[in-house]
């Protein structure tokens, strides 16, 4: 029993990583109905920016804030320059665009900061949290940040004018335009927010997985799995999905013999396919009905 509780706790800790990433994935999906395959790389690049700022002597939280602002602006810039012209293009063209973006960011980051693994500081310390061996203060802090982010997003979408406008633009773009909402800029805003959330995810994850240009590979797949499990249309779902995926991963690793680190990605694959087949809308997602 104690083993179970411990593993669940550890699962929640890893789940926080996936939850952060899934939140960013869902933000983009809300705005443009696409999965951004370059999301992980964007987050990685932002994390490098913050690392560079700290190397130049900025304190952690200043670097954090500047990176957040930078990522927000960069997200909007990418949308305006590269993806706005593709808004009417077939899905396939968009996917090709995401892949191109992935290649560019990954290679540029590799060129600027090279591929050696770097230590990344944590603002929360890495002592055991409340005397538990399985969860450190950093992981606890990460869970806290994720939950805060979720609450912040909830208030933003429910109680601000601009949040309401974004929701309107996402669900019925044409009607939204008729009531005077600039849907095009709402999409850009969605990109900016997704990039900023992604950068938070990156900065939280980096102390755990270490900083290098390929750090996001596995995390992104699990982020996708979490987003799909929670429902691609629900930020709450993404976070719950993230924690569930983390717990699931740990429990499977503990209780099913022969499943260790080497099966990490196949588990994510199985999870994604199972959810898509059994409950395509996810746990909290909206069910989309199509009208011919």
């Amino acid at each position: 029993m104690e083993l179970l509780i411990n593993q669940v706790l550890a699962g929640i800790a890893t789940g926080a990583i996936y939850a952060c990433m899934a939140l960013a994935v869902v933000m983009i999906y809300q705005a443009i109905d696409q999965l951004n395959f370059a999301q992980g790389e964007m987050a990685m690049f932002s994390t490098f920016i913050s690392w560079q700022l700290m190397q130049w002597g900025f304190p952690y939280w200043w670097a954090f804030l500047i990176t957040l602002a930078f990522s927000f602006a960069a997200g909007i810039a990418i949308e305006r320059l590269l993806f706005k012209p593709l808004a009417k293009a077939p899905i396939l063209t968009n996917v090709a665009g995401f892949i191109a973006l992935f290649a560019i960011i990954n290679s540029v980051a590799g060129l600027i900061w090279d591929f050696t693994i770097k230590q990344y500081p944590t603002p929360f310390g890495s002592r055991p949290f409340l005397g538990s061996q399985l969860i450190s203060t950093h992981q606890a802090g990460m869970i806290g940040v994720t939950v805060l982010l979720l609450i912040g997003l909830y208030f933003f979408f429910q109680f601000t004018r601009i949040g309401l406008a974004m929701r309107a633009a996402a669900s019925l773009p044409e009607s939204a335009r008729l009531v005077g909402i600039n849907t095009s800029w709402m999409i850009a805003l969605g990109w900016g927010m997704a990039a900023a959330i992604g950068s938070i995810a990156g900065m939280m994850i980096a102390p755990v997985v270490f900083l290098e240009p390929n750090m996001m590979g596995g995390v992104l797949i699990y982020g996708f799995a979490a987003a799909v499990l929670g429902g691609l249309t629900s930020p709450l779902g993404a976070v719950v999905g993230g924690f569930l995926v983390g717990i699931f991963e740990n429990l499977v690793g503990t209780y099913i013999p022969g499943v260790g680190n080497e099966l990490k990605l196949p588990i994510a694959l199985a999870l994604i396919i199972t959810v898509l087949v059994v409950k395509p809308a996810g746990l909290f997602g909206r069910h989309i009905v199509k009208r011919v």
């Binding site: 996917v95 996708f224 080497e262 099966l263």
Partner: protein, 338 residues
């Protein structure tokens, strides 16, 4: 909560390509063929090897083209089918001592079955979801191949070494040259098969599903069957390409078949023009030679150069090589008139 989405206003998955625009004219095809037969006689062995790879990747891109350009489904997971084909051939050759030529149909059939089965759950998915599921398949594949359970056959992380076949009947040509012509024959056979497939009843069914799934099912097309069939055929051809690849490279290892390969094949299709079968070879040339060129422009930035080129193609020639071919055809027509 439910939301209603207008199907009519939604962006299409792929642009509809008219059936006649999917292939080349007879004369052009013959000219291409003659070129492919003659060129290897005049070049070095290494270039012959590269040309062989060009044909092999061309086949893999063609397979994806049938799936996407034909039936309107997506796949970012072709590397998984390629890997299964490669491993099937390698294992049959090295452990069962079966002739290399015979391993190819077996690889094709196994991959067809694998693709057909994977197509079952993928049936319910469309657009981005399918891209996601196949993306996950491609990422998971190397780890599956490394499993200790399969190690007696697959050789685990180490992979398997495959012996290169000699030319039969005592023909006085080198191994590379023989393999090239062997690959060329297989490629032509599969190309003719694909062209005919798309012209057949099944091909029309694929295209009807691509253009409007609901209308297709209203016309009595078994959407589920044809979608999985397209997946199966595509996987089968990719499997043959994988088998040929294993023989040409003489080596299979899990890390040769990562998501990078799947993405390359996908890009090859975009560059060649979605739904234009001859474009597959252009796309294949792009994924084989452009990384080298990019490396030449800037050593560390090859990924970035690759990405920028891709963006240029998306923006300037969204239909890839097909568009270039059409424009040049138009120009030549004009010149003749003058």
């Amino acid at each position: 909560m439910t939301a209603i989405q207008e199907v009519v206003t939604a962006a299409p998955v792929v642009e509809a390509v008219p059936k006649k625009a999917m292939t080349l004219g007879f004369g052009t095809s013959l000219a291409m063929l003659a070129l492919l037969i003659i060129v290897p006689l005049f070049v070095k062995n290494f270039i012959i090897f590269q040309l062989t790879m060009l044909l092999i990747y061309g086949l893999a891109v063609l397979a994806l083209n049938i799936l996407t350009g034909g039936s309107g489904q997506f796949s970012l997971g072709q590397s998984a089918f390629y890997a299964v084909g490669a491993y099937t051939s390698a294992i049959l050759m090295e452990h069962a001592n079966i002739n290399y030529a015979l391993t190819l149909p077996i690889a094709g059939i196994i991959c067809f079955a694998f693709g057909f089965l994977f197509g079952q759950p993928a049936l319910r998915l469309s657009g981005v979801y399918l891209a996601l599921a196949t993306f996950a398949l491609a990422t998971a594949m190397p780890q599956l191949l490394k499993l200790g359970f399969f190690e007696p056959w697959t050789g685990g992380v180490q992979g398997l070494v495959v012996t290169k076949p000699d030319a039969p009947f005592g023909l006085p040509i080198g191994q590379d040259m023989w393999l090239y012509y062997f690959t060329l024959v297989v490629t032509i056979a599969i190309y003719i098969f694909s062209v005919n497939l798309l012209r057949s009843r099944s091909g029309r069914a694929f295209m009807a599903i691509r253009d409007n799934e609901i209308a297709a099912s209203a016309m009595g097309i078994d959407v589920a069957l044809y979608k999985t069939l397209a997946f199966g055929v595509s996987a089968g051809i990719t499997g043959v390409a994988g088998g040929l690849g294993a023989i040409a490279v003489q080596f299979v290892a899990p890390d040769s078949y990562t998501i990078t390969l799947a993405i390359s094949l996908f890009l090859g299709m975009v560059v060649g023009g979605v739904g234009w079968l001859p474009g597959s070879i252009v796309g294949s040339a792009f994924i084989i030679f452009v990384p080298n060129i990019a490396e030449g422009i800037s050593k560390g930035l090859s990924g970035a150069v690759f990405g920028v080129l891709l963006f240029l193609i998306i923006f300037l020639v969204p239909h890839g090589a097909r568009q270039v071919a059409l424009v040049s055809q138009h120009l030549i027509g004009k010149l003749r008139k003058n």
